[in-house]
C-alpha cells in the first residue's frame, strides 16, 4: 500500500463507518417501525444535540464533569507514578503488596461507587475519588513495568561512564519509563471519564452523567442520545490530548511513529 493511501485510510473508514451506522439506524426504524421514544431519527438526535448545547446549565455541567475527570486523573497520575516507582524499585515491597494490588484489581470498582457516595456525599468530592481510583491502577501497573524495563545494556553504558545516581535517573531511567507512563495514561483517561459519568449517574445533581438520569426520567430519548454523543466527543478530546502529549514527549518511540515510517 502506498504511504499516502495508508495515511488516508483511517479517515476514509471513519466516514464510511458513520455513513453505514446512519443507514442501518434509519433502516431499523423504518423496517421495525420503532417508536421515537425508543430510537429517535438521527436528524432528531442532531437537533437534540443543538438544543442540549444551547440549554441552561449545559456548559456548567460540562465544567463539572471536566473538573472531576481532570482532578481525579491528576491525583491518580501523581500517586500512580510515585507508588509505581517505589514498587518497581523495591522488589520485596512489590511482592508484599501484590495480594492487595490483585485484590483491588479484581473488585469491580464501579460497585464501590454507591459506597463512596454514602461516605463523601453527592458533591464533586465523591466523583473525584471514584475517577482517581479507576484511573490509578492502569497507571500504577504500567509504571511498575516501566521502572523494571530499563534495558540492562543501557545500564551498563551508564555504569561504565561512572554516571551518578541523578544522571542515571535523568538521562536513562526517566526517558525509559516515559512510554510506559503514557501508555498507562492512555488507558487511565478513558477509565477516568467512565468514573466521572457513572459517579454522577448514580448519585449526583449536576454534570453530564446527571443529564443522562434526568433525560431518562423524562423519557427524552433525543436528549439521552444527544448526551451520549457529547460524552463520546468529550472522552475523545481527552484521549486525543494524551495522544498529542505522547507525540510531544516521546517522538522517538515506536508507538508514536507513523506505521508508514516504522517499516524499516
Amino acid at each position: 500500500m502506498s504511504p499516502r493511501m495508508s495515511k488516508l485510510l483511517p479517515w476514509i473508514s471513519t466516514v464510511a463507518a458513520i455513513v453505514l451506522m446512519v443507514v442501518i439506524w434509519k433502516l431499523v426504524i423504518a423496517v421495525f417501525d420503532v417508536s421515537p421514544f425508543v430510537l429517535p431519527q438521527p436528524e432528531d438526535v442532531l437537533s437534540g444535540v443543538r438544543d442540549l448545547v444551547q440549554s441552561n446549565d449545559f456548559w456548567s455541567d460540562v465544567r463539572v464533569t471536566l473538573t472531576e475527570t481532570l482532578v481525579g486523573f491528576a491525583i491518580a497520575l501523581v500517586l500512580g507514578i510515585g507508588l509505581g516507582t517505589l514498587l518497581g524499585r523495591v522488589a520485596w515491597l512489590e511482592q508484599a503488596s501484590r495480594p492487595v494490588i490483585v485484590a483491588s484489581q479484581v473488585v469491580p470498582k464501579v460497585a464501590l461507587i454507591p459506597l463512596f457516595i454514602i461516605w463523601f456525599g453527592f458533591g464533586i468530592t465523591s466523583k473525584i475519588i471514584i475517577v482517581a481510583l479507576l484511573s490509578f491502577f492502569p497507571i500504577l501497573l504500567n509504571v511498575i513495568l516501566g521502572v523494571r524495563s530499563v534495558d540492562s545494556g543501557h545500564r551498563d553504558v551508564m555504569r561504565s561512564l561512572n554516571a551518578g545516581r541523578w544522571q542515571t535517573f535523568r538521562r536513562l531511567e526517566y526517558p525509559s519509563t516515559l512510554p510506559y507512563i503514557l501508555a498507562g495514561m492512555e488507558v487511565g483517561i478513558v477509565f477516568a471519564v467512565v468514573g466521572a459519568v457513572v459517579g454522577e449517574y448514580l448519585g449526583g445533581d449536576q454534570g453530564l452523567g446527571y443529564r443522562i438520569v434526568t433525560s431518562l426520567n423524562n423519557l427524552e430519548a433525543e436528549t439521552l442520545f444527544a448526551v451520549i454523543f457529547v460524552l463520546t466527543l468529550f472522552g475523545f478530546l481527552l484521549y486525543l490530548a494524551v495522544v498529542l502529549l505522547k507525540r510531544f514527549l516521546i517522538p522517538w518511540h515506536a508507538s508514536t511513529i507513523d506505521s508508514t515510517r516504522a517499516s524499516t
Binding site: G153, D156, H253
Partner: protein, 292 residues
C-alpha cells in the same frame, strides 16, 4: 615467553600471560570470578594472569561460556573480581567496592549491542559521555561531528538510532566510546551481530581507528579468523573453569589488508587455534562440565 603449567586437577594447559614488571598498561593478576546462583557456584574464571602493552591489539578468543565476556567486564570495571587485582597504568581499578574514576576515564567500552539511547539523536548519543562529564553543548557537538567523520557517519548526525542499520549503529557506539579520548578500547564482540561483508569492512576500519587514536584495544570474539586477523596477540580462553589456554603472537605488521588471510603463517595460526578449540570442546563434552 610465558610458561605452560599443567593444571593438576584438570590436566589441561593453563598459561600465565603476565608480562615483565613495568611493561604492561593493563594488568590482571590472579583474577578469579565465582558466580553463585541458587546454591550452585560456578567458577567463571580462575587465576588469570595477563598483561597488555600500550597500543597493543589483543583479542580474547573462546567458545561461548568460556568467560571471555566476564573477563572483559572485569577489565571494564562492570564486574568485580572475586579474587585478584586489575590495574590500569599502574593504578588499581578497584578500591574496595569503589572503582577508581581516573582508571575508568581511560576506558572506552563497545558492547555487542550498540546500546544506543533511542531518545537521543546520533549526535547526542556520541556526546553522552561528554554530557555526563559536563562538557558544554558547543564542544559536544563539535566533538560529535569530528568523531562522526572519523567513523563514517557524516550526514547522519540528526538521525535517530532506529533509522540506522546495525553497522551504522555500531559505528555510533564506537564514536561514543571514543568521545572522551580513552587510551584503552574494550570491545565485546562488537561486530558479532553484523553480516559477514559488513563485518570485514568494520574490521578494516577498526584497524585504521586503532592507529589513528593510538588506543590499546582488547577485543572479544568467538571467530578464529577475526581474532587472528586483528591481533598482535590472540589469547585463547578455555571453558569450565575459564582460564588462559594459550597465547599466540601474530607478527604481521598492522594495519593489515584482507590479503593477509591468504598467507601460510596466518592459516597455520588459524588451524592451530582451531585444533586447540576442538580439543577443548571434546574435553568439556566428555566430562559434562566441571562445576563446583
Amino acid at each position: 615467553m610465558s610458561a605452560t603449567t599443567e593444571d593438576r586437577s584438570l590436566g589441561v594447559p593453563h598459561v600465565s600471560g603476565a608480562l615483565p614488571d613495568g611493561e604492561a598498561e593493563i594488568e590482571l593478576r590472579g583474577v578469579s570470578k565465582r558466580f553463585s546462583a541458587r546454591k550452585r557456584e560456578t567458577l567463571a574464571l580462575t587465576d588469570i594472569d595477563l598483561g597488555i602493552r600500550k597500543q597493543e591489539f589483543v583479542t580474547l578468543l573462546g567458545q561461548s561460556g568460556c568467560g571471555k565476556t566476564t573477563l572483559l567486564r572485569i577489565l571494564a570495571g562492570l564486574t568485580q573480581p572475586s579474587a585478584g587485582e586489575v590495574t590500569i597504568s599502574g593504578q588499581p581499578l578497584w578500591r574496595g567496592d569503589h572503582r577508581d574514576d581516573d582508571a575508568l576515564r581511560k576506558l572506552g567500552l563497545v558492547f555487542q549491542d550498540a546500546n544506543l539511547f533511542p531518545w537521543y539523536t546520533v549526535e547526542e548519543n556520541i556526546g553522552l559521555p561528554l554530557l555526563l562529564r559536563k562538557v558544554d553543548k558547543t564542544e559536544r557537538r563539535r566533538r560529535a561531528h569530528e568523531l562522526g567523520e572519523l567513523v563514517g557517519l557524516q550526514g547522519f548526525e540528526k538521525a535517530l538510532p532506529r533509522e540506522l542499520s546495525g553497522g551504522m549503529r555500531q559505528r555510533v557506539a564506537i564514536a561514543r566510546a571514543l568521545s572522551y579520548n580513552p587510551e584503552i578500547l574494550l570491545m565485546d564482540e562488537p561486530f558479532g551481530a553484523l553480516d559477514a561483508i559488513t563485518r570485514d569492512k568494520m574490521n578494516l576500519e577498526l584497524q585504521r581507528l586503532a592507529e589513528a587514536t593510538k588506543a590499546t584495544v582488547v577485543f572479544v570474539t568467538h571467530s578464529i579468523g577475526e581474532a587472528v586477523f586483528l591481533a598482535d596477540r590472540v589469547v585463547l580462553l578455555s571453558a569450565r573453569p575459564g582460564r588462559i589456554r594459550s597465547i599466540t603472537e601474530v607478527p604481521a605488521p598492522r594495519p593489515r589488508s584482507l590479503d593477509v588471510t591468504a598467507e601460510p603463517n596466518f592459516q597455520a595460526s588459524v588451524l592451530e587455534l582451531r585444533r586447540q578449540l576442538t580439543e577443548d570442546e571434546e574435553r568439556v563434552a566428555g566430562d559434562g562440565g566441571v562445576t563446583e
